[in-house]
């Protein structure tokens, strides 16, 4: 049972030098949103699966969030973005790997070919009413 609740497509306001860092910064933003939604669910006293899961299609991003190794590509990640690592350690957020092909969020990041576009659109529960009935 999946349905979108909140979404956003924006230009990153920092220049990133590696894909890992790009994904890392995007994950931080998503984590903030996730935590906010969690507080809404808490207030409504609804049950949900803890911790909040973030699906990321980059393995080194997930590794960086778990283990603060500083080398080559990741050492320029600013300290403020390590908010994510903090939340992961507190078990408030969990980063999970997902295949790039299955990453629905890609519809928000680049122009896609018709087939991919339509597939992701469908996964995001945007449906034509006649298909449903």
């Amino acid at each position: 049972m999946n349905a979108p609740v909140s979404w956003c497509s924006k230009k990153q306001n920092v220049v990133a030098l590696s894909l890992c860092k790009v994904e890392f910064i995007a994950s931080v933003e998503a984590a903030c949103q996730g935590l906010w939604l969690e507080s809404v669910l808490e207030e409504l006293k609804l049950n949900y699966r803890k911790p909040v899961q973030l699906l990321v299609d980059n393995k080194s991003t997930i590794d960086t969030s778990k283990n603060p190794i500083s080398h080559g590509k990741s050492k320029q990640i600013e300290t403020k973005y390590h908010f994510l690592r903090d939340q992961v350690m507190k078990k408030k957020i969990e980063l999970m790997y997902c295949f790039t092909k299955e990453q629905v969020a890609n519809i928000f990041t680049k122009p896609l070919k018709q087939s991919r576009f339509e597939k992701l659109r469908d996964l995001l529960e945007l449906k034509s009413p006649d298909v449903l009935d």
């Binding site: 979108p4 497509s9 928000f108 680049k110």
Partner: protein, 162 residues
């Protein structure tokens, strides 16, 4: 939970009795009509079906298409062409800034139910201060995409026991 916008109000809760009580107490103080189950709120249409709830803005999209003279345009299957390159700070091809802003503003509102267009809208809204003809073409491409997909609705499936 109550949501109020100027003179429109929507509310929900898990106790039907409480909802009724609240409605009655509001009717005493204010003059208001009870439209029962929600089907239209600020351009957002809500359809209740067997499989769940559908949210769409078909009426609004049609109004936007008409307003920008695109009601009879040829639809396109995708939002943005794949090898699109937009250069910033173009000197030539100045277009009417207020038209551009109105159009982008309307598209941003459509994003409320149509998340598939958010990437394209995110792209064109960066040029609001300095609109040029090539960006307007991207806008029109988005309108043509909407023209072909006015029916699409966000689906919130009903919870099943299986």
């Amino acid at each position: 939970m109550v949501c109020l916008y100027v003179d429109d109000l929507i509310m929900t809760g898990d106790e039907e009795v409480e909802i009724e009580e609240f409605k009655e107490s509001m009717k005493v103080v204010f003059e208001m009509t009870d439209l029962e189950i929600i089907d239209y709120f600020l351009g957002l249409e809500v359809v209740h079906t067997q499989s769940g709830i559908l949210l769409h803005q078909k009426k609004y999209i049609l109004v936007v298409l008409k307003k920008f003279n695109m009601a009879d345009c040829n639809p396109v299957p995708t939002l943005v062409i794949t090898n699109l390159k937009l250069t910033e700070a173009l000197e030539e091809g100045v277009v009417d800034a207020s038209l551009y802003k109105q159009l982008v503003g309307s598209l941003i509102y459509v994003c409320n139910s149509r998340l598939d267009i958010s990437y394209g809208v995110g792209l064109v809204r960066r040029f609001m201060t300095n609109p040029r003809a090539p960006y307007l073409l991207v806008d029109k491409h988005i309108l043509r995409y909407l023209r072909g997909t006015t029916e699409l609705a966000l689906h919130y499936p009903r919870k099943t026991n299986s």
